[in-house]
Amino acid sequence: MFDYIINVSGYILEGSIVTFQLYFVTAIFSVIVGIAGALGKISKIPLLESILSLYTWIFRGTPLLLQLFFAYYGLPVLGITLQPFPAAALTFIINYGAYFTEIFRGGIESIDEGQYEAAKVLGMNYRQTMSRIVIPQTVKRVLPATSNEAINLVKDSALVAVIGLGDLLRSAKVAVTRDFSIVPFIIAAVFYLIISSVIVTVFRKLEEKYSVYE
């Protein structure tokens, strides 16, 4: 039994490489999309605001699974064929980018107008005000919501099993079918719990770090 667990764990761990790749690619790029989207949404450029509102409305209002199917099975109909990983990564970045756009927008808008005024009378321009004064304070405020999304992303990443990506969950499922054993599912669950716990810990440390000033 012990040997079996080690064996299957190794197999599932191999699958988790895809999960980790997807996780980090999505985390990095969706945050970038989120910052850009949030700055666009507060830009007071009506057309840009409308486009971004449409974007967040669609991608937060429809199932991620539907978006994933659309990218993988739907786009080929339009002549765009993506491999499973790019299709999944693209979908996740756009989907999480929509959530981060709204989270970061809310965070930026929660910063007191007086901070902008103080920066202005000290001679700071828009870029300096945002990068030195507003965004650093926003980071602290959006940490809890971002932490939630970071944990959601771990679990959502399992959706890619349905478009045939050999991720953590799919490896477990293959092992379950192959060995007619429930153990691989339990191992997979343990893996997910470990990953989520690490993320929770990282964010708790970040929140502690930022709590020095309040």
């Binding site: 007191d112 007086g114 005024e117 202005k120 009378v121 001679g123 700071m124 000033y213």
Partner: protein, 240 residues
């Protein structure tokens, strides 16, 4: 130093400044008093570009705000009623931020200057504290030092003591008084009548968007010529 001619400002339908004109000379300390909603704060904020005026002409040290606003605003520092310190930076960080980022000063130079300023406002021991750890009076003194770190020729104070507990007002007024003695040009919107009387070279009394009296403090406080000023002073002094 400052020359304002026929300044008009409205927020939508509401006219807040209705033709304000005045001049301020180098080294003068001006108090701006008057009832709430008379346009005092708006006037101050218009001088430094936080509000855009609808019409009129404004010159700061001979520089037209209309033509080169940013250059004109650089000459001024401002202190707010609500402090507006940067909460994520230490006291020292608050002071050094603009000199380093905006003026490109060397950190060592900005730090030395900041420490001198903190000593001046009596807060040397708080340089590593964050704003949240300070009392209101201390916050406002930091805000004054932060404005001074940019070496402005003119200081604007927008009700600097209005959000302070009464026992903390004195320490802030003392700092402003010291500045007045150094002959920094300043405009102070205030409800502290005793302070206005002691410190200012001239007092502007504003009502309904106009400066209705521009004179030496004795004249306003001892012999107010208009009934409007008299009734305002009676009301405000009875509150204290």
């Amino acid at each position: 130093m400052i020359k304002a001619k026929d300044i008009y400002k409205n927020f939508g339908e509401l006219e807040v400044l209705s033709g304000v004109s005045f001049e301020v000379q180098q080294g003068e300390a001006i108090s701006i008093i008057g009832p709430s909603g008379s346009g005092k704060s708006t006037l101050l904020r218009s001088l430094i570009g936080l509000e855009e005026i609808n019409s009129g002409e404004l010159y700061i040290e001979g520089i037209s705000v209309k033509e080169s606003g940013k250059k004109a605003y650089e000459k001024m520092g401002m202190v707010f009623q609500g402090f507006n310190l940067f909460p994520h930076k230490t006291v020292l960080g608050n002071l050094m931020e603009a000199p380093v980022i905006v003026k490109g000063e060397k950190k060592a130079k900005a730090e030395a200057k900041s420490e001198t300023l903190l000593k001046k406002v009596g807060l040397s021991d708080k340089k590593d504290s964050y704003p949240a750890q300070l009392s209101g009076g201390q916050k406002q003194r930091v805000a004054i030092a932060r404005a001074l770190a940019m070496e402005p020729d003119i200081m604007l104070f927008d009700e600097p003591t209005s959000s302070l507990d009464p026992e903390l007002v004195g320490e802030v007024l003392t700092v402003i008084r010291d500045l007045a003695e150094e002959n920094i040009t300043m405009l102070i919107v205030t409800h502290e009548m005793g302070f206005a009387r002691d410190v200012s070279d001239r007092v502007f009394f504003m009502d309904h968007g106009k400066i209705i009296s521009d004179t030496v403090p004795e004249k306003i406080f001892v012999n107010p010529e208009s009934e409007r000023i008299q009734s305002f002073l009676t009301k405000i002094l009875s509150q204290n």
